[in-house]
Symmetry: C3
């Protein structure tokens, strides 16, 4: 692995290599991992804020012993009209690897083509966010011991949350059964579902009904209320697609509830202390997974 632009650039073996490297990183004592990228200089370039991704990439780079530069567009030449290409080339001339977050789709691919050093996509618009998908898969595998054959429900605004498409792709690659739970107005694009089923031969069902019977993993994302012309409509949907203690009554005891965070109303704080709530643990897995990605990309 040189760059990491899209989960679709990775074969199953590549993903497995990341997951097993992440497991190794998680167990490694800090003094040992702190030698792995010693002398390397990594820059994060976040053209839009994304706290969790930003902080866990920073933590990952530092735990690997790399030196880190953080570049924010607010202190940037882009104000003076410099092109993204020139900015990438500048940073590429200073450092050994780049972690890029950008609001435009395709920005990561463009940067990876331009830069000599590895470019890791930390999210480019609604397009790809491959390390999120990797940490989701890592979390599921760690909690359940496997991914194949699990019954996974993806719930929320599946129309707009495009990272859910990448997750569906990743789950398909590993042979999970997927149930898509959303308001009928917020269903995932049919073409994406057809494609994933065709590629991996997995079962994908769709429903508007939160039924948690027999579910192994419930992956929740928020309703993007700001997308609705009628704000009231969005709020109504959020109330229906909310995972509270009421909704969890009767759910399996070994259910794992995941969420990319930050969460707002879709999971109320009362759920945090339920042993099935695994999203804080999931967030924590962002560090070893991003350590694995940075390490594998830097090794080349």
């Amino acid at each position: 692995m040189h760059d990491l632009v899209s989960i679709r650039d990775l074969g199953k073996k590549d993903v497995e290599a990341v997951l097993s490297e992440a497991a190794r990183m998680e167990k490694m004592p800090p003094k040992k991992s702190g030698e792995l990228l010693r002398g390397k200089l990594v820059s994060t370039m976040f053209f839009e804020p994304s706290t969790r991704t930003n902080m866990s990439f920073q933590a990952a780079a530092k735990r690997l012993g790399a030196k880190l530069m953080t570049f924010y567009p607010s202190v940037s030449s882009t104000a003076k009209g410099e092109t993204l290409g020139d900015t990438i080339r500048m940073i590429d001339g200073y450092v050994d690897a780049i972690v890029l977050r950008h609001p435009y789709e395709g920005a990561a691919r463009y940067a990876a083509d331009l830069a000599e050093h590895p470019v890791i996509n930390a999210g480019d618009g609604g397009n790809q966010h491959p390390t999120q998908t990797l940490l989701d898969l890592y979390t599921i595998k760690k909690l359940k011991g496997k991914i194949s054959g699990l019954r996974v429900s993806l719930m929320g605004d599946l129309k707009h949350a495009r990272t859910m498409r990448s997750l569906l792709y990743g789950l398909g690659m590993f042979g999970a059964d997927v149930n898509l739970v959303s308001p009928s107005a917020l269903r995932m694009d049919e073409e994406v579902i057809r494609e994933t089923k065709g590629m991996f031969g997995i079962n994908v069902s769709q429903t508007s009904d939160i039924n948690l019977k027999g579910v192994d993993v419930l992956y929740v994302c928020r309703i993007q209320k700001e997308r609705f012309q009628d704000k009231y409509e969005g709020e109504k949907m959020q109330k229906e697609f909310r995972v509270d203690l009421e909704a969890l009554r009767g759910a399996p005891e070994d259910l794992a509830i995941l969420h990319p965070l930050p969460k707002v109303e879709e999971i109320p704080p009362e759920v945090d202390s339920d042993p099935r709530a695994k999203y804080f643990e999931q967030a924590k897995n962002g560090v070893p997974v991003r350590m694995a990605v940075l390490y594998l990309a830097s090794k080349g």
Copy 2:
């Protein structure tokens, strides 16, 4: 020490332990101190700006060889409505210790209860700022060789500057004599004075008169003019409670003038070169004192 939330959580022996650890840190060569927290990852979380505190905590963490992440709310999920609790839990999942500055009283206690790793309070609203009190005590002890029996004047807006209350508490713990100098409208809360006298049996006097005869330490804080409805009133008071060369005429030669900084009009620049001005030295002591706190908290 695991967390440091309030000076009131520390007994006299704890404070003495911090002060003597700070003295050790101040003398330690950088290459040696740089090994003490090697492999540890510390995050500052400043929900409001406070340059001096922020920079000296950063310097302290780096001088101890810790890796540092700086988290500013402007690049934060709080905009999307995430609770402080979730944000703390996220960072707690990434790092080994947290330095928290927050505008709300009680935020540090709440964070310390929630986080697995040590939380150091770098100021929570008008409430507590324990490392400031520790560095004030450290500075006084270093300059004067002792605290017990010293005559210390605290001067300025003692009504609103609540860190002055913590300092009074700390001075009481070590048996100093304290004189509170303020406009009569800006006196320290009577209850606080009564309590400190009752606990530690020290002498505390009050006056509106700047008389520096026999004073060992003059600790100045600014008049918070923005608190006055009548701005002119505030400015008038600042003019009267101003430590300029005129006010210092006749003051003891070994007087130590301290100030938490930044200073504005309450001490004009002409005083900076007076040998009695010790506030820059005081600011510098922030680094070894915060090194001591971070080290003791990380050791557990």
Copy 3:
């Protein structure tokens, strides 16, 4: 070298020492250079944004193994009215060296006088930007093997771009022939030209004509359109003083095109892939040159 405030504080031998130290830095393996300033703490203080300078100083400090603090005025006490002097003294108390960028002319000299530790000027207003001049000289020498006797054209708004004056001074010191190419309304100050000629005895010519015949190095800077009362006038000039492929037709094959970056319209992207475009390489040289400066200043 203790401080670096102005190129005019350096003799030719000092400049040569920086250039040869930079050459050594560029070749040094990261693990070795990473020991040179180990245990040292450097703070950047950027009172105005300047991405490239900021990032390459950060990269330089990190590649030398120094610990780095980044201070931005937005998180600063200056809002509360603190003087620059007090801010400098504070940071000086925390760290071992300061890299200062400030919008006011003379700020770097003032800071250097005040601080105990080395102060490196990373640009003070339109005044001085000595590390830019040093990296320009380094780049020219590296590309051409020498500076003496080269024919160098400086092109653009030579009236307002005062860093061009420093470059003229540096080129004079090394005995280059300089041709100043600008709209007649944007010529360099006559006094500066006379002085440089007088000091170093070099040839300096002036023209409004872009003629690249026989030119070894073309150094381009942008027309500062915002300086014109009539915006249209500025845009017209920029169009005439634009280095596109058309303008490069007939230029020598071994011409080196330099630019301090960021570039906007004065060099269109089509030129980037021309082998004569050396500005990205030039930007990259900022790191070893700033490593050399930080190292020499810290050694004292």
